[in-house]
Amino acid sequence: MVRLLVNGNSVEIAEPISLAHWLESKGYGIKTVAVELDGTIVGPEAYEAIILSDGMQIEVVSFVGGG
């Protein structure tokens, strides 16, 4: 079990997966999100390489069109 904090909420996932895999599983668009991991912004080029591990704090903002 991997315990994460996502947008301030406790979340558990069954096993360590990549950030890219996790974003896709939650229905987030890779190009339309801004992600901070433990307080630092992460670019889309790094999503595949980052493996989620216990205690990670993730902030995800999903943008929609219009303005």
């Binding site: 339309t32 901070e36 903002v61 943008f63 929609v64 219009g66 303005g67």
Partner: protein, 233 residues
């Protein structure tokens, strides 16, 4: 430029007694006095020192720029590569005479009719990862007012990455009408505020309309004001 010629408190109660505003210099002085009288001198001096960038001059950006000009934010950097289209007029702060003009230039003229004392820098170009630093580094607050989802995400990511000291105020989710109470302000960390409902996009059949868009723009301008003056956004 702030011109302070006298310390006397002007009586604004009988507007007919004002001297005629014949020159821009007079306008700037009178506006400064009027704003100080309305807001208080300390508040006005803080607003006058602020430098805010508005990235995108559409439904959000044009309305934000007008509101910040009205309260006397001293410096604005306006960024947009596009021209005014007639379909913009359902929500954007332009007039029929501006259709076809670059948004930067149209808005500059409009803002000068409100307060010619505001210093305005216009950048008629796209914001990309390579232009974030040169175009935004002199601002302390950036309003993310784009309309395409992946561009909004890109701008927030790149400002957080390249200019992490800048505070970002972003508008996200404002399509349709009604559902006023769904529009809210959220703070993420110390440098990012999100205004809007977070979910109403223009994907599908929803369109953006003045009431809800200007609601979001006002939220953003209000957050900017509270950042400049201190206090709860």
């Amino acid at each position: 430029m702030i011109m302070e010629k006298n310390e006397q408190k002007t009586d604004f109660s009988s507007i007919n007694s004002w001297p005629p505003l014949e020159t821009e210099e007079n306008d700037v002085q009178h506006l400064w006095q009027a704003l100080c009288s309305r807001h208080g001198r300390d508040v006005q001096e803080q607003l006058a020192k602020a430098h805010v960038a508005v990235a995108g001059l559409g439904g959000l950006g044009s309305n934000i720029a007008v509101q910040l000009t009205r309260i006397g934010v001293g410096k604005l950097t306006l960024l947009d590569f596009d021209r005014v289209d007639i379909t913009n007029l359902n929500r954007q702060h332009y007039f029929l005479q501006h259709v076809g003009q670059y948004k930067t230039e149209a808005l500059r003229k409009i803002l000068a009719m409100i307060n010619p004392g505001i210093q305005i820098t216009c950048i008629t170009d796209r914001l990309t990862p390579s232009t974030v630093i040169p175009y935004l580094q002199e601002s302390t607050i950036v309003c993310e007012a784009f309309d395409v989802a992946d561009q909004k995400a890109m701008l927030v990511r790149e400002i957080r990455r390249q200019l992490p000291e800048i505070t970002i105020v972003s508008g996200n989710g404002m399509a349709g009408y009604g559902r006023t109470n769904d529009m809210c302000v959220k703070r993420l960390g110390t440098h990012l505020y999100l205004c809007g409902d977070g979910y109403s996009g223009i994907e599908g059949k929803n369109s953006v309309m003045a009431p809800r868009v200007v609601l979001c723009a006002s939220q953003m301008a209000n957050v900017v004001t509270s950042i400049v003056l201190g206090g709860k956004p």
